[in-house]
Subunit: 472 residues, 2 copies
Amino acid sequence: MKLYEKFADDIQRLIRQGVYRHGDRLPSIRQASQHHRLSVTTVLHAYVLLESRGWVESRPQSGYFVSLERHGGAGRAGELQPSTPLALSSSVDVSRLVLSTLRAIGTDDAVALGSPYPDPALFPFEKLNRYAYAAGRDRSPWNVTNALPPGDPRLVRQIVRRHLENGMPVDPGEVIVTVGATEAINLCLQAVARPGDTIAVESPTFYAMLHAIERMGMKAIEVATHPEHGIDVAALAAIMQSQPVAACMVMPNFQNPLGFQMPEERKRELVALSARAGMPIIENGVYNELYFGGTHPDTLKSYDRDGLVLHCASFSKSLTAAYRIGWALPGRYRDQVEKLKFLNTLATPLIPQLAIAEFLERGGYEHHLRRLRRAYAQQAQLMRAAVSRSFPEGTRLSSPAGGYVLWIELPPQVDAMRLYRLALDQGITIGPGYMFSISDSYRNFIRLNFSSPWSERIAQAVAAVGRLAAGG
Amino acid sequence: MKLYEKFADDIQRLIRQGVYRHGDRLPSIRQASQHHRLSVTTVLHAYVLLESRGWVESRPQSGYFVSLERHGGAGRAGELQPSTPLALSSSVDVSRLVLSTLRAIGTDDAVALGSPYPDPALFPFEKLNRYAYAAGRDRSPWNVTNALPPGDPRLVRQIVRRHLENGMPVDPGEVIVTVGATEAINLCLQAVARPGDTIAVESPTFYAMLHAIERMGMKAIEVATHPEHGIDVAALAAIMQSQPVAACMVMPNFQNPLGFQMPEERKRELVALSARAGMPIIENGVYNELYFGGTHPDTLKSYDRDGLVLHCASFSKSLTAAYRIGWALPGRYRDQVEKLKFLNTLATPLIPQLAIAEFLERGGYEHHLRRLRRAYAQQAQLMRAAVSRSFPEGTRLSSPAGGYVLWIELPPQVDAMRLYRLALDQGITIGPGYMFSISDSYRNFIRLNFSSPWSERIAQAVAAVGRLAAGG
């Protein structure tokens, strides 16, 4: 760990322990540098890191202040601990339960705190619909030949431009447009591993990763994961010493459900491990555009020199989930992934590709994203504060650095599945923890979605779940 | 073979031999019954069968007449012979060549005789586009939860209604909406067989079937197939005696590329074999709506009492290819297919589902199909006549009973790949035969698409391909 990371962690602990409270001004950079015998650059770097993690905020001419966001208002809810899963590979069979849970989210008029999807309220769906209509008036998108892999050249150009603006140069020839990131992840996994192979995942892990493993009849092994630093690279290396690991699937930025942003140094370490072992990494970057810090996070792929990182992304979390347009940047596996795309679904529908390309070409995307990031960062604060106020003693919270989900550890006696059913009876859905693991590790965890504009209805739903969790 | 089938084949041979010519009136039913010592019912049954195959047409109050359609105008081109593939199972790797061939079809302004897709000119794409726009103005389709498998209830209702109108009652709970028939076929195959298993297919077979086998790392075995009766059930049974066959994939109606409609009796035999052996059949029914005879063809599934027939279909050949909306009726494998759908692409986009449901609810589908069938039947005649006029001596033609492709056997010295490249140089694409087999059996075969409204440009393109094939 770098010196500035260590110093940032120290400050973070002080905030957690209540030494610094919401609104407190941190020592000035000069003061801190003198007190702790650190260079001015190190302190500055640590403060910037803390800001990117949402712990502090800078105010022009005034310095750095402890922000409400991570502090969580009432402050009753604590911070999560790193996970320590048993390093046993196991076959995967979680999809049936996940599907039935997701279905319940869509039924009736439930308050959809359990939804994995962004609330379309903040999305420019009317504009996209108009662009789709305009694209569909032309006859050529109805000619399926144009929709064959790799994807529409206009959309590919916009995807490449977007990656470039976000600091990651990409060869246009590498992009394969897919039916959502789901298909991208599936094809990438199929390109790098065989049925029966073992795939390393975070713990907790996004269930879509487990689904991809289940679909191919592969095995998963869960790796210890830090709630702020991400997958434990040393733990992964140790597992790879003891057994063959065909690939690793991670979400380094704003992981679902933990919400962390892996520090740059950890990303470099993970990519270095992959290069040493010749082990491909499937990087799920679907939340990358939804950062709360000042800048776009870096990616594993940007450190990859061997074509071993297969980057998967989509517009589903940041622009429109309905169109199911994703893409893969499969590195050295590009040709296999293109072939598998063709075999899997033949073509990705062209009209949605053209509507999204049109939206991006007109330059509205960054403006939309700025609004979305601001809203999500604020809603994260409000959701954390609401949970802190109403959930039982012993509850611990994630500190999402981006995205729109909060991960909550309930006191050990709370069964999240029972809580899920009780909440559903009251017209509220929550995401039960079992979906995020092949083991029983998260039976007292839940995931809450904060993508909807904050409202009294949501506040009351959170309070109601808190009361149910407290057994009241 | 039934008596009426034998009699129909006799008449067919007489037409082929020029004994009966285009426009000739066949003997009346009473006459034929007396001459051939057959019951009136048998003769009537044979004439109806010949009509469904497109050889004759009935004129009210006048009797049955030899139609131009099968007669093929100039009559120089002969009829195809049954295939006799070597019964060796083999791994499959055709997709790369197929993808590059299909791509060439879409480039520039080629005359797309090689296209597998229907020309959208005859499709109501403007109406669908308006319905999609209207559906997208409502916020609910933008909520992805509603798009989870099995599919939108409005669309499912219309699919079930349509099957019912076509004589096949279906349980609404069985329908799984997919991304085109491609995904349906993939999921059905994955539900019934494992990597390494052997799958029986027709010879020639539609390459999408081979792709599904390739995607799963399975093996294919080609079964002798009659150009008018379809897969040879006895030959399939013999193969199943000699080696395990995990499943069979067939297209019993208007097979791509042969265009046959399996006689009812053959369908029953095939389903009976499947039931005896407990072997699932994947039935590709994508062309079912495009019959040239008077009535919708029956399906394997309608004879299935054991849930062993997995029926796959789509709107891509009959309404819109651009939306990529298909479905599976997976019989006893319904739950596995639904789960695999969820794992494979999560959700099928809702807006296209709603647009198609709207179109069907308004009752415009049957009218559109009648127009389409009439056009395709006529274009089949024109294409057959054009080929007969300009292709070299020794050319043999399929007699499509539905669909929109013609299968052509060229004299043995013609290499279809060379012909493909020569035609491409002249801005014409054709479908080379190698795409339809894992063996080298069809190197002198091509497939031509007749879905475009007939024009001088198409006529000239067919003539040009004929000249190239003749080596001129």
